[in-house]
Symmetry: C2
């Protein structure tokens, strides 16, 4: 079991889908990533920031899942990052209604001593300056650094983002972001260009259409599990990233063969996350359920064919 | 090797993509299906109609690929069905500029004697009345009937289409059409409803996102091969169907396990079809190339993971 450090937002989300709506509930990239990674028996440590309004019971909930919250700074007179979004009927698109950065606006991340020698580092989606600061604080270069980011940073902090991208091993972005970052429509060409920016491994997330893993000439595809109903897609991408890094940290094996398993694990965990609002499904999820669904992924994709 | 009968259009296509444009070239659903199925060593017979303007060399070209064109009626004083379309920059959407039904408007299909006992029947996309007529002409119910159709017939001949759907074993339609036919957004639910209309097997084609094969509770996914460049998507769906039925007819095995291989074969053949304009790539395609790409499909999808 390797040490896993997760950087990202810990937040309040308010979500509206065609199936209902929530008040402020627990959310944030680091939350979803850690809940997902923790399913693999690793004990992730989070680096993040919240306000004095953040319920202690949420931290306790994370601790009970073996997530170390020592690196979550609490700004007592500040307010927690808040996101409010509304999904369209197809659940594939959404409008952001509110983004209150609050304490995130002046966040200076501090890596706890215990995680200075983390072997696996997951940089969840937030300002590339924060991501870079964490990379620079670590005593030793981790075995594997995975970066998640989004179009917002390409639009608003591209130079800094490119510096971070040059330093990491695996980038996970969605298809539209891969196209924006590379200027290529073909995802094969996009991955090729992104390789040249630094990352040896490029994971392109296509939502309900699965995810592609590229490694200079090699390509592997993990489908999304076809579901009767998607209830709430919030956090699915982060849960995918958490399943990916969770499997990697559990096994400690950073080969391409093992990364194939990691994207399947990511897709597996994400398929649960969307079944209920927010983090609800991830909180009740058991290893037995994960194993059963892994078998479904095998049935979904594995075939025997003779070459002649 | 089983006898395969293919019903569908044999046509002139004029295609415009961001990479160039063609004059009237050989096209049509039955053409693409048969060229694809013929790669599997079966000798498909086509039932279709063309006008006196249809070049004899096109028929000869099909014959050279072991395709029986005896069932292609030639209306000497008529004109061949003509379709002209223009693809948008993303190559995922297109505008139909011209659809001249011509001889197709009064087409009464006649199944050649040699194919009255066909064990495999592929009903390519055309008027459901023509599809029904062919089903009714056959001396014996084929071992497997596969139907391809499109939203146009759902809009304009739904009752008749539903009668055909009730009689067939496998339906292949794209995701939007599956949603229209079932009234369900979720493809899992859509497939479930379509099962109830008759077909035991439902294949939902998602273009560059692959295809799903449903069989009451079982589901299998065949990805599309990620390509550097898609040159011309015309006929990709028909080529997929041809690879599917070609594999089925070659093996004669209509089990779900073998159908998994058939959708992989369909996806494999379709990945070639889009590499050049019209039928060009299918005409030069060799078995060696097909086998090599089949290996790519294995590398793309196969993984080893231990359940614990």
């Amino acid at each position: 079991m390797s040490k896993l450090l997760v950087v990202g937002t810990v937040a309040f989300d308010a979500i509206e889908t065609p199936f209902g709506k929530t008040d402020k509930i627990l959310g944030g990239a680091a939350t979803y990533i850690s809940l997902s990674a923790a399913q693999f028996g690793v004990k992730p440590g989070i680096v993040s920031v919240v306000g004095g309004d953040f319920p202690k019971e949420y931290l306790k909930k994370l601790n009970e899942k073996n997530i170390n919250t020592e690196g979550i700074e609490i700004v007592e007179d500040g307010k927690t990052f808040f996101w409010k979004g509304k999904y369209h009927n197809d659940l594939n698109t959404r409008d952001t209604l509110i983004t209150d950065l609050n304490v995130l606006a002046d966040f200076n991340p501090v890596v706890p001593k215990e995680f200075m020698d983390a072997e696996f580092l997951m940089l969840g989606n937030l300002h590339p300056a924060v991501q870079m600061s964490v990379i620079n604080q670590l005593a030793k270069r981790p075995k594997l650094i995975v970066l998640d980011t989004m179009n917002f940073w390409m639009d608003n902090a591209l130079d800094l983002l490119m510096e971070v991208i040059a330093k990491i091993d695996v980038i996970t972005i969605n298809d539209e972001e891969a196209r924006q970052l590379s200027g290529e429509y073909s995802l094969v060409k996009a991955a090729h260009k992104i390789h040249k920016m630094g990352p040896k491994y490029v994971v392109i997330k296509k939502g309900e259409h699965g995810a592609l893993l590229f490694n200079n000439g090699n390509v592997f595809f993990a489908p999304a599990l076809p579901l009767e109903e998607v209830f709430d897609p919030t956090g699915a991408g982060d849960t995918f990233a958490g399943g990916f890094i969770g499997h990697m940290a559990r096994t400690g094996d950073i080969s391409f063969e093992n990364m194939k398993r990691a994207v399947i694990c990511g897709s597996n965990l994400a398929s649960f996350s969307v079944e209920k609002f927010g983090t609800e499904r991830m909180e009740s999820l058991t290893n037995d359920e994960i194993q059963k669904r892994l078998l479904q992924f095998k049935l979904l994709t594995q075939f025997e064919i003779e070459l002649n």
